[in-house]
Symmetry: C2
């Protein structure tokens, strides 16, 4: 479902060049449950931003279901982002003026073909993550882990084909983490959703079926393994 | 060094009241290495905000070195916050228009009695955390874990008597986490700094010498134990 070839991303800080990603290639099939691990600063968020269609590479291509998203019009790309990809940001990126319910309902309201009643769908997801009594809170009225769970619910809202999560359990206790991982396994088993998670947590990494390791912007290790 | 008595914090969302903290009392001595644990939403960040002088309780008192900080003028409180307390925010709260170096130097520049050369002190701390080649990057030009380390360096900058950290390793890989914990143990052993950390990471919790557990805004468990 996802094929990245020779991805490089170079950023500039004043005169200095930072090579955040160097010649990264990978292929992920439909329904895979993949972890991306590596040291802080190794390029994981940069890679996720590219495969999630939120950023463009300096060189290289990214195909989602055979379509090269680096060549699409902004309008077509926006539609793929809304319908095919659910993205969980490392810093959550919730809309501060909207409540938890409105934040999760938003992508459902924007969907070209309506699958769900937006507020009903949002309430169900927030209930699943234990936030039923927080649905009218705005992000600043939520704890860090509550904001993270709202961001996760939002990514699941349109039942997208691909879930991309950037350290989705970083602010969660073990109980909340289990609920999140359970939900992700569930959508994968039910809908064959592809799940790609960046994590620093060994406990999460060992639940993934395949691990890709990034160091200094390169893939250094790919180990296909079966989670126990 | 720190005594909280009967702290309660009630927040309002429209007509609904949320009791984030309910009658919390605790005493922490100079040089203690304390962990605060508990489920997401249990009141940990709220408690830290109160003991760090960043927020005021609905009822109750907080004494730092015998001074009730809930009764101080803003000017006196600001000075205590700058000189006595180093605070690491769950969401980092770096100044987006300043570089890493400037962010870390800032509290040193504001100190009433100058202990260090601000930029030299900032560079040393950033080097210690592996960010020597990122000192001129602004927060948006840093990875999540790099921003977190800048926030930690900033908290250490004035060599404060009390370090208060809200999930300081949540975005860090195990290597960077070890460097951070090493640095915190170091200042405690060298200067008898009091270190209070909120964490969801059992690996960090087991390194603390005492654990306080919060559930639903109350302390449910206090276990003084020696870290192995
Ligand atoms: N806008 C930018 N300009 C310059 N350099 C950047 C920018 N964004 C990121 N970088 C650098 O690119 C590298 C990769 O960043 P990235 O955010 O992808 O790391 P990461 O693996 O997600 O790290 P973490 O685990 O800490 O979140 C880092 O060294 C970072 O300093
Ligand atoms: N400004 C606010 N208005 C209303 N309720 C709030 C506000 N800030 C926090 N809360 C609520 O107070 C409770 C405690 O929040 P707090 O941020 O202290 O939790 P926490 O223990 O730090 O959680 P986490 O581990 O997820 O960071 C939460 O249930 C949260 O929804
Ligand atoms: Mg990252
Ligand atoms: Mg918190």
């Amino acid at each position: 479902v996802l094929r990245a070839q020779n991805l490089s991303k170079t950023l500039k800080v004043g005169e200095v060049k930072v090579e955040a990603l160097r010649n990264v290639s990978l292929t992920i099939e439909r329904g895979e449950f993949v972890g991306i691990v590596g040291p802080s600063g190794s390029g994981k968020s940069t890679l996720l931003g590219l495969i999630g269609g939120l950023d463009t590479p300096t060189t290289g291509t990214i195909e989602i279901d055979g379509v090269d998203i680096t060549r699409l019009s902004e309008r077509k790309l926006t539609r793929i982002r809304n319908e095919k990809i659910g993205f969980i940001f490392q810093a959550f990126n919730l809309i501060p003026t909207l409540t938890a319910l409105e934040n999760v309902a938003l992508p459902v309201q924007f969907a070209a073909k309506r699958q769900f009643n937006p507020h009903k769908r949002a309430k169900e997801l927030l209930d699943m993550f234990g936030l039923g009594d927080r649905i009218h809170h705005r992000p600043t009225q939520l704890s860090g882990g509550q904001q993270q769970r709202v961001a996760i619910a939002r990514a699941l809202a349109n039942n997208p084909a691909i879930i991309v999560g950037d350290e989705p359990t970083g602010n969660l206790d073990s109980e909340s983490s289990s609920v999140v991982m359970e939900a992700l396994r569930n959508v994968r088993d039910t809908f064959n959703t592809t799940v790609i998670l960046v994590t620093h947590d060994p406990g999460i990494a060992e639940q993934m079926e395949r691990l890709i390791t990034l160091v200094d912007g390169r893939i250094t290790d790919e180990d296909a393994r079966t989670a126990t």
